[in-house]
Symmetry: C2
Amino acid sequence: MSNKEKGFILWFTGLSGAGKSTLSGLVAEELRRRGKKVEILDGDEVRENLSKGLGFSKEDRDTNIKRIGFVAKLLARNGVVAITAAISPYRETRDYVRSTYPDFVEVFVDCPLEKCIERDVKGLYKKALAGEIPQFTGVSDPYEPPLNPEIVVKTHEQTHEESVATIIRRLEELNYL
Amino acid sequence: MSNKEKGFILWFTGLSGAGKSTLSGLVAEELRRRGKKVEILDGDEVRENLSKGLGFSKEDRDTNIKRIGFVAKLLARNGVVAITAAISPYRETRDYVRSTYPDFVEVFVDCPLEKCIERDVKGLYKKALAGEIPQFTGVSDPYEPPLNPEIVVKTHEQTHEESVATIIRRLEELNYL
């Protein structure tokens, strides 16, 4: 199997509203256009199907992320690009998932908290800041940015198209495309 | 994509000790020999990775089975033969999973309870019959056999090799191989 037919895990991480879902969808489109098999494991869909009943404590978040990692690994080792787009706030948990599979590419969707609050795509920051959502990442719960992500995109400085181009170029450099 | 490159779900169901794990391993070997991509979602492995904390109430069992079904579907639609080997005692839940994916092949590993108790591979029946394991399928919890499974193997009448041959032949007839 050539490297280009290989599956891998493309792991988006970043604050709520940073642009993970949008970017993962656009990257998936481009990868499919290039003939890759792609699955997006979105935070909400996975919570519904794999983690119903789990809350947002550190332990529950970790369990959710490890489950996403387990499924991503099963897909990747069968030639699929497994894209995940959950907040995944804890560095140690992301690094744990990284340790379970060699072809792991971390994409830090770097957007300052103020910008995410300004956008407030889902209206969640307003509620979180009003104290209506406990344990909200960035407001009342920590977010630990990656120290050495393979890819960084800055959605407050780049258009989505530019961010997608950055990701695809880097995947080519890493010999995944 | 030709039918022969298609993924599908091969869903083993049957009592504890009926032979699901052994048969699923042997079938997986034969399928890999034929060039298929295969993943086995074993009851215990999946409980560890996807369902830690769940018990054996009907509700928890159903949740576990639905999670296995969700992952099996993700694999199958990417060209993998997703083999599952959990007891999956409830007919309605198996039929629910069937309804989520068109290429679903149910294998009933039919072995009478007395035979399973006689074998008692894991020593679990002894404990269950002594009342040490509550909600044990076949002893203190129901098992609902499939009404119209695509494949039936009788491990008390056939050798494992014969059962594997039955399964492979039927998969050929169904045009999956």
